[in-house]
Assembly symmetry: C2
Homo-oligomer: 157 residues x 2
C-alpha cells in the first residue's frame, strides 16, 4: 500500500461507526449490526452487546468472528468504489476484573455517549475483537491483505 | 409490526445500496461488501460479483448466505437506533439461459448504471439471494422475525 491508501484505511477505521459482525450460529453465519470503537493502536475493536443477543450467545460458544467496516454510502454513482475492511479475529468478553476494562469503557463511551444508559442494564457487556488477518478494499480492484502489524503501522497516520 | 414499522422496513430495503454478505469459507464466516438490488416483490436480492472473488467461490461451494442491510449512518447521537435487516437465504447464480436473467440485469443496472462496464468482463455474473428467514431491527429493542411472506406483504407499501 502506498501512503495515501494507508491513510484511506486509517480514515475508514476512524470514521465508520457501525459494522457487520458475523458469528457462527448452529453452523451458519449470523449477521448483526454493531457499533464499533477501537484501540488507539488499532490492535482491537470494541463492541457493547446484550447477553440476550443471538450474536453474543454465538460468541460465548465460538470466539471466531468476522467484522466488516464499510465506508458510509455518500450516494456516489458507483458504490462498488466504497472502501471497506473485513477482518477475521477472535472475540473475548471484557470482564470487570480485566485490567483494561475501564479503558475499554472509556474509549467506547467517548465515541458513543448514548451507550451510557445501557451500562446500568445488567445484560450489556463489552467484548474485545482482536484481528488476526483481514482484507482492505480501497476501491474497485484495489485489494490488500492486512495483518495486525499493518493496522498498528497505520494507526499512527 | 404496525404499518409504520412495515414502512420503515420497506424504505430500508429500497434505500440501502450496499450490504454485508456472509459466506462460508473453509468453515469460517467470510464477509464482503456487495451492492444490492431487489425484486419488486422483495422475493429476491440480486448481486453482481466476480468469479475471482472469495465470496463467489464460497457461494459456489455452499449456497447458504446471510445478508445484512443497515440504514446509512446519518450521524445521529446513537447509531444503535439505525434500522437493519439481516436475512438468511440461499444464493444461486443467474445463468444467461435463466428465463429471468434479462429481468435481473435490467433491475440491477437500473439501480447501478456504473456496473454496465463490468458486463463485458467475462468474470462477473449475477447471483440471486432468496431469503428464507430474517430479523428486522427497527431501532433499539424493536426486533421482529421476518419470513418471505412478510417481505412480500410490505413490498406493496
Amino acid at each position: 500500500m502506498d501512503e495515501q491508501t494507508e491513510q484511506t484505511l486509517a480514515l475508514l477505521i476512524r470514521s465508520t461507526r457501525t459494522g457487520a459482525l458475523a458469528t457462527f450460529h448452529d453452523g451458519e453465519p449470523n449477521l448483526a449490526m454493531v457499533a464499533v470503537a477501537f484501540a488507539d493502536d488499532f490492535s482491537a475493536f470494541y463492541i457493547h452487546v446484550s447477553r440476550l443477543g443471538k450474536h453474543t450467545r454465538d460468541m460465548e460458544k465460538d470466539a471466531r468472528v468476522s467484522l466488516l467496516l464499510t465506508e458510509t454510502d455518500d450516494g456516489r454513482a458507483d458504490p462498488q468504489t466504497l472502501a471497506r475492511l473485513s477482518i477475521h479475529g477472535t472475540a473475548d468478553p471484557v470482564t470487570k476484573t480485566d485490567s483494561g476494562s475501564e479503558r475499554v469503557k472509556g474509549i467506547y463511551l467517548a465515541r458513543f455517549p448514548e451507550a451510557k444508559k445501557l451500562l446500568s442494564l445488567g445484560d450489556f457487556g463489552f467484548w474485545r475483537i482482536t484481528p488476526k488477518e483481514g482484507r482492505f478494499v480501497a476501491g474497485f480492484a484495489q485489494a490488500f491483505n492486512i495483518v495486525p502489524e499493518t493496522l498498528k503501522k497505520i494507526s499512527s497516520l
